[in-house]
């Protein structure tokens, strides 16, 4: 949810999900539950598995919806408000629906010195979106990222966990072309 969703207006009660309406045993898949329980078995508290739980659910569902958040919180026997505090703290947890491909463009110092601003313009023109936005067809989301550890091969970006480096205006277009072709194929 972006900042405007957190304005002073209360949510409309009829669509508000209450914690009681979700049964985490039904909501979470067997795989998700087993990963979470494995993590719990390593840690000394249930809530310590929270970040791992958010990540596994996001891996299968793309993002963390309010329902997912409530289900995970129930599973870990913590309040959903507390888990929301955790979820919103971390950069790689998405609390809003994202596209099939999430582009994380590095905007830190080495990429600044080697011209990520040009790459940003190319991506924005190609996709017609800015930071934090998703293309209307739901294929691409554009986000910034702090230093990706490819500073010797900057500018750099990461798309769905895959790293790309030494970016040029041309290479970034061909990467996006390649992904656009696959669009719709991926599950």
């Amino acid at each position: 949810m972006n900042n405007s969703d957190f304005s002073l207006q209360p949510r409309i009660p009829s669509i508000m999900v209450t914690d009681e309406e979700i049964d985490f045993r039904q909501y979470l898949s067997a795989t998700e539950l087993s990963v979470i329980e494995h993590e719990v078995s390593i840690m000394e508290t249930r809530e310590a598995a929270g970040i791992e739980a958010l990540k596994i659910v996001q891996k299968y569902r793309g993002w963390i919806s309010d329902d997912s958040l409530i289900a995970i919180a129930q599973c870990l026997q913590m309040s959903s408000a507390q888990l929301e505090g955790v979820a919103t703290f971390y950069n790689l947890i998405y609390r809003q629906k994202v596209g099939h491909y999430v582009i994380h463009l590095c905007d830190s110092i080495s990429c600044h010195l080697t011209g990520y601003d040009e790459i940003l313009k190319v991506i924005q023109t190609y996709l017609g979106i800015g930071y934090g936005q998703t293309t209307p067809d739901g294929e691409f989301t554009l986000l910034s990222n702090v230093c990706l550890g490819s500073c010797d091969k900057s500018p750099a970006m990461m798309i769905n966990g895959q790293h790309y480096h030494s970016l040029t205006n041309e290479s970034v277009v061909s990467i996006l072309n390649g992904l656009s072709k696959n669009a719709g194929d991926i599950v």
């Binding site: 949810m1 972006n2 900042n3 969703d5 957190f6 390593i42 840690m43 000394e44 508290t45 809530e47 310590a48 929270g50 970040i51 791992e52 958010l54 990540k55 993002w63 929301e84 505090g85 955790v86 919103t88 703290f89 971390y90 950069n91 790689l92 947890i93 998405y94 609390r95 809003q96 994202v98 994380h104 905007d107 830190s108 110092i109 080495s110 600044h112 010195l113 080697t114 011209g115 601003d117 940003l120 800015g130 930071y131 934090g132 989301t141 986000l143 910034s144 990222n145 702090v146 230093c147 990706l148 550890g149 500073c151 010797d152 091969k153 900057s154 990461m158 966990g161 895959q162 790293h163």
Partner: protein, 473 residues
């Protein structure tokens, strides 16, 4: 090169480049290959011939200092763990955490070790865990390093298969479980107490110290947090002895160091060199000097949170004391090189925007000071600044300095800012006098401002998907 040739070549450097001689980024050694190349000799020695206190004595004697940024002596850090204190025989077990968060802009040295020789880090963590009597160890890795995560998990699995992890390791009665935790991303997770909170599933906000983690850390137990590179030295110190380690460097700080260079240099990269090479050697002999057509303007010697150094400092040895004497910090040993065609104000603005975005928000000077500095720097970069702004920036540097915040993030933000205002004062003033940026390049720092860097939002600068909810708290 055939693998036999590769190995012969690698082994010929075993004594001079201990950390990296086995690095293979395309296909790192598996367990067997690593053992054949001399791996696990150090761990065997530690676990079967030495007591934890004897290992501690060797590591202390080697003079190894932490490579995570602060340069704290590793032996001294470990010796605070109750299990290693003279009086206690029955101390509770402790935790070892390897800090592989590496999110400091301009730093990519740990990645090289994590991806290139994962087995070495697992051996190192076993040695450290044994020494501090840990029965559980966590490898905390930044979430973006997915290739490293896959390789490290394989290395961990193979260590279990070969009885280097689990129960009765190599027939001893020592037992250790080692887990890989990949982070969900936030620079502050690299601060050791924030990291501990992250592992506990909380918001990664640092903890007040004391108590220090060695006494009360993860889940309230004694905990040691060490950097990837620091730990990676251990197998070699155990194998070749502390005197060998001291002899690696002609300077007072022993060992080798992972150095790197990025920015406006011809040949950016990462190199393992004897501790204390000069900045000049690193910049010209290894990084190939400045790119065609540009001159050196200044550099950050050890990542984003260190003070600028300039031409006159080029002959400074890159060791902890010498760099400190020159007015900066060795930090992570990663040069970030600025040329004369890029605007220093824009560079500092980029750095401060990073710190403002990544501040955890606990301390007022940092939470409010970093976005305030971003606001002022933006104004100056756009040519709308005044001399009063310079005075305000100087005040902010004081407000955010050491001792006024709970962790070193804010002072780390001050370092490049304050030093830039000193060495590049003319550039700042030119922006103010001309009413515009005298450098035509990199306008991006201005452009982004129009997308909504408000002081109150700057904490999470790029508002959007992953930044929601912060202002709700």
């Amino acid at each position: 090169m055939t693998s036999k040739n590769w190995l012969a070549q690698a082994l010929s450097q075993a004594l001079t480049k201990p950390l990296t001689h086995l690095v293979n980024l395309d296909q790192p050694l598996d367990f067997e290959g690593y053992v054949q190349a001399g791996g696990y000799i150090g761990a065997t020695k530690a676990l079967t011939q030495l007591t934890p206190k004897e290992v501690l004595a060797i590591v202390s004697d080697s003079g190894l200092k932490g490579r995570g940024g602060a340069g704290f002596p590793t032996g001294m850090k470990w010796s605070c763990v109750p299990a290693l204190q003279e009086q206690s025989n029955q101390a509770q077990p402790s935790y070892l955490i390897c800090n592989g968060d590496e999110m400091e802009p301009g730093t990519f040295k740990d990645r090289y070790l994590l991806e290139g020789v994962p087995q070495q880090l697992i051996e190192a963590m076993i040695i450290a865990s044994y020494t501090i009597s840990a029965d559980k160890a966590f490898l905390f890795l930044r979430g973006e390093y997915q290739l490293a995560a896959t390789r490290l998990q394989q290395a961990i699995d193979q260590a279990y298969e070969n009885n280097w992890l689990g129960k009765n390791i190599q027939g001893t009665n020592y037992q250790l479980d080692l887990y890989l935790h990949t982070s969900a991303g936030r620079y502050i997770c690299g601060e050791e107490t924030a990291l501990i909170n992250a592992l506990e599933g909380k918001r990664a906000i640092p903890r007040a110290k004391p108590p220090f983690p060695q006494v009360s850390g993860l889940f309230g137990k004694p905990t040691v947090v060490n950097n990837v590179e620091t730990l990676s030295n251990l197998p070699h110190i155990l194998k070749h002895g502390s005197q060998w380690f001291k002899d690696l460097s002609p300077h007072s700080d022993p060992g080798t160091k992972m150095y790197s260079a990025c920015g406006q240099v011809k040949n950016p990269g990462v190199w393992e060199l004897p501790m204390g090479v000069t900045i000049r050697e690193l910049l010209y002999d290894y990084a190939g000097g400045m790119k065609e057509g540009v001159k050196l303007k200044g550099l950050l010697p050890g990542g984003a949170s260190t003070d600028f150094l300039v031409e006159q400092h080029l002959d400074t040895p890159m060791d902890f004391d010498s760099i400190a004497k020159a007015g900066s910090r060795l930090g992570t040993g990663g040069l970030i090189v600025l040329d004369d065609k890029h605007c220093p104000v824009a560079m500092v603005l980029n750095l401060l925007r990073f710190f403002a975005q990544e501040s955890c928000g606990w301390c007022t000077p940092c939470r409010d000071g970093t976005p305030w500095a971003v606001e002022i720097l933006t104004r100056i970069e756009q040519g709308k600044g005044s001399l009063a702004d310079m005075a305000q920036l100087a005040d902010l540097c004081d407000f955010m300095w050491l001792g006024k915040t709970h962790c070193a993030l804010a002072p780390g933000a001050v370092e490049p800012l304050k030093s830039a205002m000193r060495y590049f004062k003319d550039d700042f003033e030119q922006h103010i006098e001309l009413g515009c940026c005298p450098y035509q390049s990199n306008s991006n720092e201005q452009q982004q401002e129009s997308q909504g860097v408000q002081p109150e939002l700057a904490k999470r600068v790029t508002a959007g998907v992953n930044q929601g909810g912060e202002n709700d708290e």
